[in-house]
């Protein structure tokens, strides 16, 4: 095992974690502010990826594709918030889970109906393709490096938005006491729509960015959605900081687990058995991590009073 390979896998883990953060940030904001479990978040991710792929195929521009995916996901978010999600804020979690599960069914089949069952492909733009050489001779894909950068920039932007702007103050106030900020004259339902659209746009962007390194297909949102839930549960629901830490933790655990566990077992077992046990354990690693965190800290690492 070479250290260069390990460095590469660590970067892959960071990149994966950053994309998970884009998903998890929206989910955790929506849960923190509105108290809503949104299973349809993965569908918004899928919408972003499909719109990006279609726009890129039509115009040939990756930048336009990104903008289109942001806009389309935000629009889809606003649309479902105003027609359906809005009715769910006062309901219990069971109703929210089911209604948004129903939305997944509708989105998935709707997408299949519009785009067909075959996967679409989105190419990495020429300017970002190829590899770069990092210090210590590590060769790494430029595009994935850019993804890490984009994730960092958005994380910083979100921290500033939540911490420094008036909208951020309202969002934090909404997490603490929604009746009070309503009484102080803030239009809550507009705030809610805005937060939902923000989360949706982030999910759409993540979908478009990932769409360039994976195939764009129906159902692509579901594994990511479940991982994003794992992330926010580990980090503590409602906390952006928790989402960032949780996302990096999950991204690194998953990637490095798949890389290291089979090798670790190979030290004591014969190769074929080691691969089997190692990869089986690696695919469970993040869920074991989550169960472990919840057993030690039932409200997640940075979880506060939210329930």
């Amino acid at each position: 095992m070479s250290l260069i390979l390990l460095a590469e896998q660590t970067l892959n883990g960071l990149q994966f974690g950053m994309m998970l953060f884009l998903m998890a940030a929206g989910l955790t904001l929506i849960f923190g502010v509105m108290g809503l479990i949104n299973l349809a978040h993965g569908s918004l991710y899928m919408v972003g990826a499909f719109i990006a792929a279609a726009t890129a195929a039509f115009t040939g521009s990756f930048l336009l594709a990104l903008i289109a995916s942001l806009a389309a996901a935000a629009l889809a978010g606003v649309l479902i918030e105003m027609t359906i999600i809005r009715r769910l804020y006062e309901r219990d979690h069971l109703d929210q889970v089911l209604a948004t599960f129903a939305l997944i069914l509708i989105f998935s089949e709707g997408t299949r109906w519009v785009f067909g069952s075959f996967p679409l492909y989105l190419d990495i733009p020429d300017a970002l393709s190829g590899t770069v050489t990092l210090p210590f001779g590590v060769e790494y894909s430029l595009y994935r490096l850019v993804l890490i950068g984009v994730g960092l920039v958005i994380a910083l932007g979100l921290f500033l938005l939540i911490g420094k702007t008036r909208l951020g103050i309202r969002i934090r106030a909404g997490e603490n006491d929604r009746e009070m900020i309503g009484a102080l004259g803030v239009d809550i339902s507009r705030l809610y729509t805005l937060v939902f659209a923000l989360g949706a746009a982030l999910a759409g962007l993540a979908g478009a960015l990932i769409g360039a390194i994976q195939s764009v297909q129906v159902g692509m949102g579901e594994p990511v959605l479940i991982l994003a839930f794992v992330v926010i549960v580990i980090g503590g629901i409602g906390s952006i900081k928790g989402a960032l830490v949780g996302a990096l933790l999950v991204g690194l655990t998953d990637t490095l687990g798949r890389f290291l566990l089979p090798k670790a077992f190979a030290l004591v077992l014969d190769p074929s058995q080691a691969t089997a046990i190692g990869s089986a354990l690696a695919s469970m690693a993040i869920y074991i991590l989550m169960a472990g965190v919840l057993i030690l800290r039932p409200r997640g690492l940075f979880g506060g009073a939210a329930s």
Partner: protein, 327 residues
């Protein structure tokens, strides 16, 4: 007789009459559909013990469904290939006898539910939903990446397992068996709901503090309910795998957890017979709409949305009126 009781009787009569009519008309496919409905209803009844009586929103019941399925698959696979399940420290052979398989499926599910429940019940609310989902995903990914029993491809069994005195390969006989199990489970659960334990469990759902104040431990009540719930769902998994003579990780997937939950909601949360109505309706929709359009999940989604938003009691709420007591 309340309207709910009348509805229960009509429901069970229809579920029995349809396959019998299909049998006399020689339509084995309809019998299979009814068998599916009966088996999935058992899974729903199981979940309803945790969800309806205990208020525990488990989003991971596919784990018990799948474990039951794999209990059948693994035992039958070893019996049919004449290989022992394990040799050290003592030999265990596979079996093709349904009663034994059911006992194993229930036993495995009880153990899994004890472990999952003991850990998950430390959390509440959305954390509980997510941790049950996480445990199910854990087992799902394990089943996919563990090559010994087919991994992602699943495990086929050539012949349906046997039940003393019945020819289980005959559709109507297998239906009767499943219907019988369903009836027994319903009987058991409706007695459970009225038993001191069931009443205390429902009280714990409504107000855990008061239950604690009279000297009960909600955690213990919840855990018992979760284990009973898992055991019933595990049993239905074994029946389901035997119906298809096939078990695969799909039975463990979170879609399956969602579907079992849909049976409960479509029928009506907390109604003992609700999941029967829900599962029957689901199978009916799948058959009718699935024939109408390949995109039938759109209609299913729309309908589910309608039920959640506008008809909160499910089918039972619509047909039998509000629940008599509580909440």
């Amino acid at each position: 007789m309340t309207r709910e009781t009348a509805l229960n009787i009509v429901l069970m009569a229809v579920l029995l009459a349809v396959p019998l009519a299909a049998w006399s008309l020689d339509e084995p496919f309809v019998i299979t559909l009814a068998t599916r409905a009966a088996i999935l209803a058992i899974a729903g009844v199981g979940l309803n013990v945790a969800l309806g009586l205990g208020g525990l929103v488990s989003f991971g019941h596919a784990v018990f469904f799948g474990l039951g399925g794999y209990a059948m698959g693994i035992l039958a696979h070893h019996a049919q290939t004449y290989t022992p399940l394990m040799t050290a420290p003592f030999t265990i052979d596979g079996t093709t006898s349904m009663p034994v398989i059911w006992l194993v499926a229930i036993g495995v599910s009880v153990l899994a539910a004890l472990a999952i429940g003991a850990l998950s019940l430390r959390t509440t609310g959305v954390y509980f939903i997510m941790i049950t989902l996480a445990f199910a995903q854990m087992v799902y990914y394990f089943a996919i990446s563990w090559p010994a029993y087919g991994g992602e491809d699943g495990l086929s069994v050539y012949v349906r397992n046997g039940f003393p005195g019945l020819n289980t390969m005959d559709p109507i006989q297998y239906f009767s068996l499943c219907y019988g199990v369903l009836a027994l489970v319903l009987l058991g659960v409706s007695r459970l709901a009225r038993s001191p334990f069931g009443l205390m469990l429902q009280a714990a759902r409504q107000d855990p503090e008061r239950v604690e104040a009279i000297g009960q431990t909600p955690y213990r009540l919840y855990l018992t309910a979760f284990v009973i719930s898992g055991a019933i769902t595990g049993l239905s998994g074994a029946l389901f795998a035997d119906l298809n003579r096939f078990v695969s990780p799909t039975m463990l997937s979170w879609h399956m957890s969602g579907e079992i939950m849909i049976f409960v909601i479509l029928g009506g949360v907390g109604r003992v017979f609700g999941p029967v109505a829900g599962a029957a309706l689901f199978i009916l929709l799948e058959h009718l709409l699935g024939g109408l359009s390949a995109y039938w999940h759109v209609y299913l989604g729309a309908m589910l949305l309608g039920v959640v938003l506008f008809a909160r009691g499910g089918l039972y709420g619509l047909l039998a009126g509000r629940e008599v007591a509580h909440d």
